[in-house]
């Protein structure tokens, strides 16, 4: 039922060069879209590698370096999608960045930057995507959130708040964009084992703690979220609107 559901469609994934974004890109590439665009910031090598992997699956793809926290660069990104692909059907708003600090140490600029790069990027991306999507009868927007939106994790205040904004915006956008044929949902992942997580100084203790408290008793993989995103990009999820799907192996159930 989900095979090749994206034929003729154009997909844009922000933060698509590595980790979760890359897994989503490869999973969606399997559905044979007409074109895939990878947004990324500075890791040119990783972006090239991911583009090559997508192309190897027979899907035309290219990458665009951008900063999703800057409005003018976001507009640029979507202009390029329009120019080079002529349309947009699916937006995966995955790019995320933060400063891990306690709330008392968050200064004006850091707070604003985290909001710009995570919360506003989702709103602005959805706005720009919706303009493109309505020209061809609709589309799908999927945001990637994390459990920090509803639970407390050390240093996660700013990003958690931004993710909560994303989940709330998804509800409003789902209602307001439904007449345009656009579906908006969010996937909320627990701890996902990615390269950037492996950089954490207490990685080993952290992952031990998480595995022990996860009913499924393993760490989440990028692919665990990619499958859920693929479902939300398929017609099978047409009746699911404005929802935040938690995919965490049950971790948050007994917090």
């Amino acid at each position: 039922m989900t095979e090749r559901t994206l034929r003729q469609q154009v997909v844009l994934i922000t933060g698509g060069s590595r980790g979760i974004g890359r897994a989503i890109a490869l999973r969606l590439a399997y559905e044979q879209p007409a074109h895939m665009v990878i947004g990324y910031s500075m890791n040119h090598q990783a972006a090239r590698r991911t583009v090559n992997e997508i192309q190897a699956l027979g899907v035309p793809a290219f990458a665009i370096s951008t900063d999703v926290g800057k409005s003018e660069l976001m507009r640029d990104l979507f202009d390029q999608v329009r120019q080079r692909c002529g349309r947009l059907d699916i937006l995966i708003s995955n790019a995320a960045r933060t400063t891990f600090r306690p709330s008392m140490e968050l200064d004006d600029r850091s707070w604003q930057r985290v909001m710009d790069m995570n919360a506003r990027a989702f709103l602005l991306g959805s706005q720009l995507a919706a303009e493109l999507m309505r020209e061809h009868g609709g589309g799908r927007i999927v945001g990637i959130s994390s459990l920090g939106s509803r639970y407390v994790a050390p240093g996660y205040a700013a990003l958690g708040a931004a993710k909560a904004v994303m989940e709330t915006m998804a509800r409003y956008l789902a209602v307001e964009l439904a007449p345009w044929g656009i579906n908006v949902n969010v996937v909320c992942g627990g701890f996902i084992d990615t390269d950037s997580m492996r950089l954490a100084p207490d990685y080993k203790q952290l992952t031990e703690y998480i595995v022990n408290r996860t009913p499924i008793h393993r760490l989440g993989k990028p692919e665990d979220l990619a499958g859920v995103v693929a479902f939300l990009c398929s017609p099978d999820s047409d009746w699911i609107r404005g929802q935040t799907l938690v995919a965490d192996g049950g971790f948050s159930l007994s917090l």
Binding site: T2, R171, V228, P235, W239, L245
Partner: protein, 248 residues
């Protein structure tokens, strides 16, 4: 169309409506299906015939899910017929709407029993098989009514609230056994059951659904297929709302 190849599913209350749609969708994904029904034998046999016509495997089996021995027979038959049980859909349940002041104990109990006792008995009964397989997948049918209060069906709302809590607690309890437990929470879906209840004020309800249409059983069935598939392998304890935006 092969996400559930070689899987075996029991769908309770599958003669009509959402249950029937789930049975048909499962079969289309390659699963063998036990179509459970309470009283509508002909409807259940129609579902089975439709599955067989499309080359699928299915049997119909009568059982009252609130009857312990009937549930035991249902599960035993499924296991004997298809050698395993991978998926249980706890869907059977009835409505008996009434304002609380006028609600009879019988109205309260039949609704609570059909949903909660029914889910409990079916789940408990399939567990030995699923545990032996070290894998299994349980999906209960909840309702948006559990989260968004309405008048005149407190018994149903309480039952569905119970289903959500049951889902979360069993997800934690059964994860170590390789069994995932989730629920699907439909919004306003057009079925014989809801048509009967909701023939009033359709326009008013429609105005609250962003997609401006009522849901169809297959809308729910597709979400259930996803949760039953390997793509959802990291999702457990989740109540997935399938509402067309209703209730946001």
């Amino acid at each position: 169309m092969d996400r559930l190849t070689n899987r075996v599913a029991i769908v309770t209350g599958a003669s009509r409506g959402i249950g029937a749609a789930i049975a048909l969708a499962f079969a289309a994904e390659g699963a063998a299906v036990v179509v459970n029904y309470l009283s509508r034998k002909e409807d259940a046999e129609t579902v089975v015939a439709e599955i067989q016509r499309q080359g699928g495997r299915a049997i119909a089996f009568q059982a009252d899910v609130t009857d312990e021995s009937a549930v035991r027979r249902l599960v035993r038959t499924a296991a004997q017929q298809f050698a395993r049980i991978d998926i249980l859909i706890a869907n059977a349940g009835i409505v008996r709407d009434q304002l609380i002041a006028a609600m009879t104990l019988e109205q309260w109990e039949t609704v609570i029993q059909s949903h909660l006792r029914g889910a409990f008995l079916c789940i408990r009964e399939v567990l030995p098989t699923m545990m032996a397989q070290k894998s299994g997948n349980i999906i209960a049918l909840s309702s948006i009514a559990a989260d968004h209060a309405g008048r005149g069906h407190a018994n149903y709302v309480a039952a569905k609230g119970g289903i959500n809590a049951l889902t979360r607690s069993l997800a934690v309890e059964l994860a170590p056994k390789g069994i995932r437990v989730n629920a699907v929470s439909p919004g306003v879906i057009l079925t014989d059951m809801t048509k009967r209840v909701r023939n009033l004020a359709n326009d008013e309800i429609l105005a609250q659904i962003p997609l401006r249409r009522f849901g169809e059983p297959r809308d729910v069935a597709r979400a259930v297929c996803f949760l039953a598939s390997d793509e959802a392998s990291y999702i457990t304890g989740e109540v997935l709302h399938v509402t067309g935006g209703f209730g946001l």
